[in-house]
């Protein structure tokens, strides 16, 4: 699994120094600035929004908080490039808003442009705040209420308690959520490409897709890998130091009562977030879908938007995602078993390398690798499936590991003492007990692969279109009506994610980039 990483680094580091020198000034520095600025701003925005929403849902008497609680995570169901696409089709030049304004007022009014840093920032904050939100919520729930009461009995007022007690206690969760967000932003392709903000991923993509010039792409990738690795190392450090406070008291803290104004503002904020993340994207896709039915475009035939075509794309998506998920689980089993039963985690760490890598990078690495060693696999569906497995392998591994950790060794030993072989024990004892976790892991890999965009765009064999690829290409040309049907099918296929999110409250579902 780490092979693509090594190949890319080797290729990047072995390029001539002169290329490094020229690219460093012209490309790397501006890209570095762009990527870091966006990652920093989005992380900050997500932290503020995520903590605020978590606090409102967990600790105040916000009306409807029982419904808003899970609903605020539900934005993860819509792949984040879709959120971006529908926002552009709504706010963008000649978009729905301008059309509606023109129809209503009779005058053409220019909406401020959504393209660029601000637009990318807004969409990414809306897309990534659930990472911080879920972690902050869990942390708030496990806070010992006695600590805040102790602070009050010492004469501390609300603000002081928040900044000196609550916030420091949330810090480990916030650091984890913030890093998750930063790593995600660095790996995102769909949103920044849609909003025309240039970062490492879009630059690498252009090098690969346009010129197919691998040397500069590998070089840029090396810098991106370095950035990601720095963040990951920080993350590991923080996890190691993560102080876990147990909750001593079962007593729930009294909810903070919001004033009428506070309540109004809070409802407004929650409403706004849900509008941007959930209502507008689904509403706009429904609108475009209805328009594609009401007013069939003569050019639509070119786009292959008939039902048969749609079913073919869905079939391609389902097949590749399901194969990848199954393969990932089969590969994960022995590694996880080894890690849990014999406490050897070295392999696991290495196998997780793919998790944080942008899809663009994995596509590049596979292209380098296959091109040189197994040209017969290059541009086949297997290259694509292999990319999915590498990218989402860590989900499979984590699921199997956590499942295995809950099966006591004693059970296996008992079965062995009854004269069963290892395979028979796995089949009759271990596997039935781990099955729920395996199912969850399979679904996670499947759903993530289903919505994968950049690696699919770069590695798919000619004529093999998946739902994301189809809607991406259509939307890229401005044929939003033709993008609507595959988008809706994709969203509907993603709905099982709601169940996973409800069960685990874990932000493990990537947003699709």
């Amino acid at each position: 699994m780490a092979l693509p990483l090594i190949v890319t680094l080797w290729r990047g580091l072995s390029t001539e120094f002169s290329l490094w020198a020229t690219l460093w000034q012209a490309r790397v520095l501006p890209l570095l600035g762009n990527s870091l600025a966006l990652a920093g701003a989005v992380t900050l925005g997500s932290l503020v929004l995520g903590v605020l929403l978590a606090w409102l849902v967990e600790r105040t008497d916000l009306p409807g908080r029982k419904i808003f609680g899970p609903l605020l995570v539900a934005t993860l169901v819509i792949p984040c490039y879709l959120i971006a696409i529908w926002h552009v089709s709504f706010w963008g030049p000649g978009g729905l808003l301008e059309r509606a304004l023109a129809a209503l007022l009779g005058a053409s009014i220019k909406v401020p442009t959504i393209y660029g840093f601000v637009g990318a920032w807004l969409i990414l904050v809306i897309a990534t705040y659930p990472y911080v939100y879920t972690l902050a919520r869990a942390a708030l729930r496990s806070l010992d209420p006695q600590l805040e009461e102790a602070a009050r009995s010492l004469g501390a007022h609300k603000l002081k308690i928040f900044f000196k007690v609550t916030l420091p206690l949330l810090a480990p969760a916030l650091a984890a959520g913030g890093l998750l967000t930063a790593v995600y932003v660095l790996s995102d392709y769909g949103v920044v490409a849609t909003l025309r903000y240039e970062t490492f991923t879009t630059a690498i993509y252009k090098q690969l897709a346009g010129r197919y010039d691998q040397a500069p792409a590998a070089l840029l990738s090396t810098v991106l890998i370095a950035l990601t690795v720095i963040l990951l190392v920080i993350q590991q450090r923080l996890w190691g130091r993560g102080r876990h406070y147990y909750k001593a008291s079962q007593r729930a803290l009294p909810l903070v009562r919001l004033s009428v104004w506070g309540r109004g503002a809070a409802m407004g904020l929650v409403g706004l977030v849900l509008f941007f993340g959930l209502i507008l994207p689904s509403g706009v896709s429904l609108y475009w879908w209805l328009e594609s039915i009401a007013r069939p475009n003569p050019a639509a035939a070119l786009w292959g938007s008939s039902l048969a075509d749609l079913l073919r794309y869905a079939g391609n998506s389902l097949f590749s995602a399901a194969t990848a998920a199954t393969l990932a689980l089969v590969l994960a089993w022995p590694i996880a078993y080894r890690a849990v039963r014999y406490e050897q985690h070295g392999l696991t760490r290495l196998a997780q390398a793919g998790q944080a890598l942008p899809g663009v990078l994995i596509a590049l690495a596979l292209a380098l690798l296959l091109h040189r060693f197994v040209p017969s696999l290059y541009f086949t569906i297997w290259a694509l499936i292999f990319a999915y497995v590498i990218r989402f392998f860590s989900h499979a591994l984590q699921a199997v590991e956590s499942g295995l950790a809950r099966v006591p060794v004693r059970l296996e030993e008992a079965a062995r003492s009854l004269g069963r072989s290892t395979v028979s024990i796995w089949r009759r004892v271990t596997f039935p007990l781990v099955a729920p976790s395996v199912a969850a892991g399979w679904t996670l890999v499947f759903l993530n692969a289903l919505r994968e965009l950049p690696a699919t765009l770069l590695l798919r064999p000619p004529g093999f279109d998946t739902l994301p690829v189809r809607l991406w290409i259509a939307a890229g040309e401005g044929f939003y009506a033709q993008a609507a049907a595959p988008a809706l099918v994709l969203i509907i296929l993603s709905l099982p994610m709601l169940y996973l999110l409800r069960v685990g409250d874990r932000p493990e579902v990537r947003h699709g980039d």
């Binding site: 010992d144 009461e149 102790a150 602070a151 009995s153």
Partner: protein
């Protein structure tokens, strides 16, 4: 001096299924009162009422002449000047010992005060440690120092010894008693351990299912319990059924002299403390001739099980 410093008047609070009160309780300045009762009797709720973490549904609470809670007044916990030591200490895990103690202090004068308090509780040199690096006893002393730092009018202790090892308790108890006597601080503490309550407290309030059964000195509670529950809960009590006949009470073990007049024929219970019983061997056995089976020795004296054969 002997005026009521903390006063609860007809306080009643309802928390879900549980109801506490109505009851009244007053504590004098400098007094050390223990609240004793089985688990679920509302001891902790009583402390939380005084600290301001629960609001009474009825009645009023007065501290140092100021009404802090009644139907019209409400003083927030942070403005009450009530120090509380929580059952599991609730030390801030992200702050050092010194930072924990200084939490309620103003920046300016905290340094000197912190070292003074550390010395008071015998923890010099622990200032830079984190709570998880301390033993249970040390954590408790930090919690105590932290709540004393702000010079509270009243100190509340919730089961201060329950998280300590059994062999550490007597030592900590003695230390706490000395410290509180030195500070002359009005203190209310909650416990389910009768020995603890009797050793430390000037007066003990016995709670049962949210009601105050009796509040009195340890001596009086033991000698003259107001209710059957108090009699059974405190020490060992042998209760004998009896009937009033003339100036005495007739029981299976013989007649007891009636201490206050009761109508003829009233059914009563007679409490006999174990140490008030003396056993004498009889020549003719109305009791089992075999030697009585000894019970395991317990404190002073010895329990004896006697079988009656008649």
């Amino acid at each position: 001096m002997a005026t009521d410093f903390v006063e609860l008047r007809g306080v009643r609070v309802r928390l879900g299924q549980f109801e506490l009160g109505p009851f009244s309780l007053s504590v004098k300045k400098g007094e050390l009162v223990a609240v004793l009762g089985p688990s679920g009797s509302g001891k902790t709720t009583l402390l939380r009422l005084i600290a301001g973490f629960e609001r009474p549904n009825e009645g009023s609470i007065v501290i140092d002449g100021h009404v802090v809670a009644d139907m019209t007044h409400w003083v927030e916990p942070e403005d009450r000047g009530v120090g509380m030591v929580f059952q599991d200490y609730a030390l801030f895990p992200h702050l050092t010992v010194a930072q924990n103690i200084a939490f309620g202090l103003n920046k300016g004068d905290s340094c000197a005060r912190v070292s003074e308090l550390l010395k008071l509780v015998g923890l010099d040199g622990f200032a830079g440690r984190y709570p998880h690096e301390l033993s249970g006893g040390e954590q408790q002393r930090v919690a105590l120092a932290r709540s004393l730092a702000t010079n509270p009018k009243v100190l509340l202790l919730d089961e201060p010894f329950s998280n300590l090892d059994a062999d550490l308790r007597p030592k900590m108890r003695a230390e706490l008693k000395l410290l509180l006597q030195r500070l002359n601080c009005t203190t209310i503490f909650v416990t389910h351990d009768q020995e603890e309550a009797f050793e430390l407290a000037d007066r003990v309030a016995v709670l049962k299912a949210g009601r105050l059964e009796q509040i009195d000195t340890p001596e009086n509670l033991y000698r003259a319990p107001a209710t059957r529950f108090v009699a059974e809960f405190i020490g060992h009590a042998n209760l004998l059924k009896g009937r009033v006949r003339g100036s005495c009470i007739e029981t299976a073990l013989g007649c007891f002299i009636l201490t206050r007049p009761l109508p003829e024929g009233t059914l009563v219970d007679v409490m006999v403390r174990p140490e008030e019983v003396e056993l004498e061997a009889l020549a003719t056995p109305p009791f089992s001739p075999s030697p009585p089976a000894p019970l395991p020795p317990k404190g002073e004296g010895q329990g004896v099980r006697v079988k009656r054969v008649a």
